[in-house]
């Protein structure tokens, strides 16, 4: 019996989740949508100062993780 293609399953999982986020963003931009856009909920999280610091720190960490390592 061949081994389970775990690599394929893992990649498919990531593709599904990222595609779902893209679909959500598209749905959120329809007029009258109850789904917030990425910018709206990030803006909401950034209302308090600590949220602003954490979101900006997360942005910087992404840059360090993908471009400096």
């Amino acid at each position: 019996m061949p081994p389970l293609p775990t690599r394929g399953i893992t990649i498919a999982g990531f593709v599904v989740v990222v595609a779902a986020m893209i679909v959500l963003e598209i749905l959120a931009r329809r007029p009258g949508s109850r789904i917030p856009t990425l910018g709206q909920w990030l803006g909401y999280l950034m209302r308090p100062r600590i949220g602003r610091i954490l979101v900006l720190a997360g942005w910087w960490w992404l840059g360090w993780h993908y471009f400096a390592r």
Binding site: V17, S33, P36, G39
Partner: protein, 150 residues
Amino acid sequence: MATDPAPARRDHPGRWPWQLARSHRPAYLALLALLGAGLAGYAWVVAAAAPFSRGALIGVLIPGVVLGTIAVARPPERIPPPEQLDMTGMSYWVICLAAFFEWEASAWRDSSWPWHPSFTNLIDPLMEPHLIKSAAILVWLLAGWALVRR
């Protein structure tokens, strides 16, 4: 004698060149083009730095320091955030984010590349071409500016 308290800093957003130049459309467009070219050039240079090198670290430190300083000392006019979020609508995002981080955490825990690669394991080879990495860095820079405006 009571005096009016000093207005909060956020009530007086920084005056940025592109805000001043908006009334002169050609100048505004030229300034935008210049900024875009500068950012693209910066991204191109940073993308050339070897991983784990001092140059690569400095390349991501500089935008962090610059944007952090702008956010604290001279914030631009911010896009007003929503007063509240629709919980049902937001729950879809929460489900997606939870699924993503669960998937990533399980890959990290297993640490069994190549059978169960993490998101980073999958992204890194895609960014090997210099042009792709430069574009990704440019998107990261623009996302940082978009966050400062939020």
